[in-house]
């Protein structure tokens, strides 16, 4: 990865990649039972098979359920409130993540898409980003 390329680096390797400024989640598909998992794993949680293939998941999905975290560890300041949801990606699987939106905005089955969330800088000063979600109709 070239420094100062303009694009942030993924906060964690091997979990998602960044393409055209948007995250693509990497999922593991079991070669035996076809179950899909995120984050990727080395052994199938359904059948314990160890032969897993890495695939790219859809960047679009809809909210299965959600909450607004109002306090954390007794603290009511800092990053709260923020929305966390379980998202059914088109074609699966169901993943959990932060939804960048107004706490009043979410609704079950609301269409969402993956987006990058800044996560500071690494020791070499490269910008880091994690994956998150935003409403599908959010302005980019």
């Amino acid at each position: 990865m070239t420094p100062d390329s303009g694009a942030p680096l993924p906060l964690v390797d091997g979990v998602f990649k960044i393409a055209d400024g948007r995250p693509v989640l990497l999922v593991s598909r079991c070669s035996s039972c076809n179950e899909r998992f995120f984050p990727p794993r080395e052994r199938c949680a359904a059948c314990s098979n160890e032969n897993m293939q890495t695939e790219e998941a859809s960047q679009d999905g809809e909210l299965y359920t959600w909450t607004v975290v109002r306090e954390l560890g007794g603290q009511r300041e800092g990053f709260v409130p923020y929305v966390v949801g379980q998202i059914d990606l088109a074609g699966g699987p169901r993943v959990t993540g932060v939804v960048v939106c107004d706490p009043d905005a979410p609704a079950i089955r609301m269409p969402v898409r993956l987006c990058l969330i800044p996560q500071g800088y690494d020791d070499a000063g490269n910008e880091l980003a994690g994956y998150g979600f935003e409403p599908a109709d959010a302005k980019r």
Binding site: V12, A45, T65, T67, R70, G97, V98, G130, Y131
Partner: protein, 380 residues
Amino acid sequence: MTKAVVAGVGMLPFGRHRDKTLSGLGAEAVSAALSDAGLAWRDVQAMYCGIVGGGMNPGAGIGERLGYTGLPITSIDNASASGSSAFREASLAVAAGRVDVAVAAGAGKLSQSFGGGSARPGSPEEREANIRIMQGIMPPAGYFAMRTRRRIHDFGSTIEQFALVSVKNHKNASRNPFAQLQNELTVEQIARARMIADPLTVPHCCPMGDGAAAAVVVSEKRARQLGLQPAITVEASAFRSGIYRNGPPDEAETTHLTAQEAYAQAGLGPDDIDLVQVHDAFTVEEIEYCEQLGFCEVGEGERMIENGETAIGGRIPFSTDGGLLARGHPLGPTGIAQVWETVQQLRGLSGPRQVAGARVGLVHMVGVGGVCIVHVLKRS
């Protein structure tokens, strides 16, 4: 093979015990249980301690306080189900004929545990921590808030129906001097209270606190020698972790499977149960477990609490001592506090919260990691 008989129980009020150490709390509960059983520490042949946090081998600290008698002591961390695991192991040791007298103990000091610094840069722990950040850091309430919201969507329930579980539990706890929260609450107060994770306000969630509880389990032979009347027997001890079905396991399904196993062991069914203690750390749980334990069909849980069927005096009382929501949940001792309450009820000693004619009690716990433990206790 012998049946395991609960000969004595003891506990400390849940709440704040800043002046006592974890092992000090545990030792006090063990002493109370032994005195209730008419036994002494030197009679105990094995002890199992459910404790979350508390450093290395916290159970040994309880034994050290009670005296070096040379007995085997095992510490168990199974999250919320730690105390239940300890009770199970004590019961199994007796039922297998390995010992005649075993103690299950639990202790918790949540006002001081849950430490853990930040992970070393580049370590696998840091990688996992970063994945958790992207998945959205949540208090436990966040997970149950999402479950509650989805249930409201799927079944058309209202948040007020869930609040009724907290109302009922606080009412039970107001009659329990050992409960952490002994105040009664209304649905309106619960709606107004501070929001933790939408749609859950504080009274939808169990409090953090300190406490300890213990139970003494003996063989039938020893129970006869002690002249125990009535004898409370352990009719079932079932323990499962989750299995993968159409996704990662959830506590509801694991509860269903574990209960089926427990009913089969006991040769009993839901109709034979007189009272139930469940893992109701969050209000939605009683509703779900009521269904999964077989007391109503899936989708009827809200009707059960609305019609007062899980209240004392109802068809199948749940969490007669206030449950995790009001009696409290210091993790380690919680499962044994449920046994304490069940034994007192089966003995008919529960005073203003007595379930009339109680003969069979079911005790249920789930814990982080998807574990579920169900015991059935019976007065013979």
